[in-house]
Symmetry: C2
Subunit: 501 residues, 2 copies
């Protein structure tokens, strides 16, 4: 270890410990904490955030970082040390610009606002959440404005926090092409949506049995229960304390079997990424996924490309039928596969079919751009939201719980996050194309053998954590940077065939 | 607020936030965390403990504390500020003597050792746990030796951390009297144990239904689910993040109904104490119970004096029968009450009957004294343990899981804690005698009206948090300090009657 790096390490360790504590509070708040705890607990969180910031943003670390950046040029650092320095410099750029008092206040706010969002969604009352959303947006605009440089817009600053490889021009290019090619296809498919019957999916499915089957599915895909747990929350998510403690949540609806199954597969994809990160990166700033986009590529890979395929279900469908014989015994696998790929008009992003999913993201992206360009007020958001759904999908929410209030992200201040889902989904297709060239994926799936697939992802993506960025991973793996065409072509080919267009 | 106190406050707030984070990790480790997380998580805990210590033990706080102690003499501080200063001075005495490196190492050790204990207990293998126990004892001896003064022995230093009002001479007096009066009674009762039949208790009781009934019981006693949650763990416990987030755990055995019921009542007693602490004390060093002994008095009050009485069960027994008609429909309330008060030879403290319970504590107290007087080695502990059970109760464990390994406390380094259970149980009897003079307790119970009982405890005990100590509370409430006679007389009277001696 470089001597300068050795001096930096205690600061990093302290920051990581505080970060891990904050993660545990987040987990606890979303899964278990009593409702009345929120006010006092958010104060505790505010103090921990403040301490986290102080542990990184101080003269000692600033000087060590500067010295290390010089050493880096003289090649005195290991690759891992270099990666950590790069990540730390990024955090510095993000955090140093924000006055500590504002940062603390903001963290206290988001700790409360996520509870307010949950209640507003439950009560279907956007006006109860709007004042908090307004405050969050004001903070995010201010924070972004502190960091604007190199010709970036404030929204691009936020986008960069989740995915450094893509800016507005890249996203616009991707999304414009997507809209041009896929919206007409969606509209054609909508006309034929009734040709697939999946009424079986909305029969009564015992919640405990769903939990049991979802747990089985996670384990089947490789979720290691010695290093992870599954709980419940309003909105499914994955969270890691470190690569030996990775947690996912599920949500279970009595009259929607697919909802829990595909959430479980999706979150397991995230969890496998974190569990497979190399132990040398544990509790360092690079001991997590490369980016939100890359993370979503792994969850979407398992959810869509693997999880919606005939080959995947062939060896395990019988087990699902055994869990719910009253509903599924007369549904052959062929019919189930058509059902889980059925395209139907849907207002809820997390329940959306694979074909239209990206439209939901594009709507959020366009609205976020409007917010940060000051083209819309908080009060007008529901109207704009509903209009875009009408324009792109031909459907509109009848209440705000299924509209503007449906996602948790903004209540945490996560603006700029949504595009990651689209990038990830597209990256998944790109990786899948390449993987199929390298191994008999279909055959493995039909044998119930997920191991080689998981190990391929581990060895080419997961183990590196955040030591590489999305385009570096793609270039090393596929020989080219991000290209959305694989995704668009995959959708066109698959859904034209499914609906015999 | 005193200006000096105002300067102290950020240090206290930071310490409390770190303490709250550590509590959450403790909760998580005991209830949910995956087994494989322990090593990395214990490192995180070590760092947080270290930071907690640094936040209190530093020159700034030292000087502020000194100044505040002077101001206190000039009566410039509020009562609350004085109480906080007193508590802080106590923490100072405890922590300042320990070198930070040793404290950190010790915290990392106990974070691992509680997992090692759980595994050793499961595997019935004391030798797997013994090396960790040895290390913990070595640390505790060293830490206590740093703090020995005023003629106290090392063990008295540890006792004082849980209950400052009682030293070895007080405990010896209490326990010698108890042994002299109660051991002969236990032995007489043992001869007649078969006159009470409670075979119903070991029939098959559905775990989910037990959980549901226990949850009902907690709510019936006043547990506020808006400010608390219930989970499961190997050993039931109560933990608070603050007075608006109080958590209890249960353990459920298929063939032992009483076990879960009386654990639930016991932990609810602890929880009510924490929930009823005044909001002005929240997240301050006095925002918790007065002492472990006082805390146990509240749990034991509900568990034994209330929970084992005919009056308590009269209005709710039918609900229990409804939950388990197959086992209880032919058991009249009278028989159930005899059953839950039945005295039988028992090796497990947490399952022990009310009459012999304190003997279990005395055994642990005597062994702890031997450990800290260097009169026994770690290797010999199982032998000594088993011999004492033989001598006092006429029974001996056949394996270490039901002997030396049964309690979690030592794996956390909690030496000196056990006597609190006995003190608390005796204090409960003392309070109960006084309460019965002030209100018609039996009548309230028969009406299913717990509120006046709970409010009496809240107004005379709970709300004060740790601003008073055990003897101050007792003196203000009952007009006298601690007196174990109420407890001993209560046991003699109750069990002579029950067994017609």
């Amino acid at each position: 270890m470089s001597k300068t790096f050795e001096k930096l390490k205690p600061y990093l360790d302290k920051a990581m410990a505080l970060q891990t504590a904050r993660s545990l509070f987040e987990w606890d708040t979303q899964t278990l904490a009593p409702f009345g705890a929120a006010d006092n607990t958010s104060k505790v969180n505010g103090i921990l955030s403040d301490e986290y910031m102080k542990s990184l943003i101080n003269d000692d670390v600033r000087q060590l970082l500067k010295k290390l950046q010089e050493e880096q040029e003289q090649a005195e650092l290991s690759d891992l040390e270099k990666a950590i320095i790069k990540e730390l410099a990024k955090s510095y750029e993000q955090l140093e610009s924000i006055p500590p008092e504002e940062y603390k206040e903001y963290n206290e706010l988001t700790s409360i606002s996520s509870r307010k969002w949950a209640k507003a969604k439950k009560d279907n009352s956007y006006s109860d959440f709007a004042p908090y959303l307004q405050k969050i947006i004001d903070f995010k605009k201010k924070f972004a404005s502190y960091r604007v440089k190199d010709g970036k817009t404030p929204y691009e600053v936020l986008l960069g926090d989740y995915e450094e490889c893509f800016m507005i021009k890249d996203l616009d290019a991707f999304f414009d092409k997507f809209k041009a090619e896929i919206i007409p296809l969606v509209k054609e498919v909508y006309k034929k949506t009734d040709t697939i019957d999946k009424s079986y999916n909305s029969l009564n499915y015992d919640i405990e049995k769903q939990k049991e089957f979802c747990k089985y599915l996670s384990g089947y895909l490789g979720f290691d229960f010695n290093r992870g747990v599954i709980a419940e929350s309003e909105h499914p998510f994955t969270l890691q304390l470190h690569n030996h403690d990775v947690r996912i949540t599920g949500r279970y609806l009595e009259n929607n079997l697919e909802s829990s199954i595909f959430s479980a597969i999706h979150e397991t994809g995230h969890a496998l990424y974190e569990m497979n990160i190399d132990d040398s990166l544990t509790q360092t700033p690079v001991g997590t996924g490369a980016s939100m986009g890359m993370h979503e590529s792994q969850s979407r890979f398992f959810e869509n490309l693997i999880g919606r395929s005939y080959d995947f279900w062939e060896p395990i469908y019988e087990k699902l039928v055994e869990a719910f014989p009253e509903n599924l015994q007369n549904i052959p696998l062929e019919k189930f596969i058509k059902g889980i790929n059925k395209v139907s008009p849907c207002l809820i992003r997390t329940e959306a079919d694979e074909l239209s999913y990206c439209i939901h993201i594009i709507i959020r992206y366009e609205i976020e751009k409007m917010i940060f360009n000051n083209e819309v007020t908080v009060d007008d958001l529901p109207k704009v939201w509903n209009q875009k759904y009408q324009d792109y999908l031909g459907i509109a929410p009848t209440n705000d719980s299924e509209g503007i209030l449906q996602d948790i992200h903004w209540s945490f201040g996560e603006f700029g996050y949504f595009p990651s889902y689209a990038i990830g989904t597209a990256v998944a297709s790109q990786i899948y194309e390449y993987m199929k060239e390298k191994m008999p994926v279909s055959e493995y799936l039909r044998q119930g053998n997920i191991t080689p697939i998981r190990e391929f992802l581990r060895d080419n993506i997961h183990k590196y954590g955040a030591t590489k960025n999305t385009n570096e991973i793609l270039k090393d793996l596929c020989g080219e940077e991000f290209k959305p065409d694989y995704y668009i072509n995959y959708l066109k080919e698959k859904y034209s065939r499914l609906y015999e267009l």
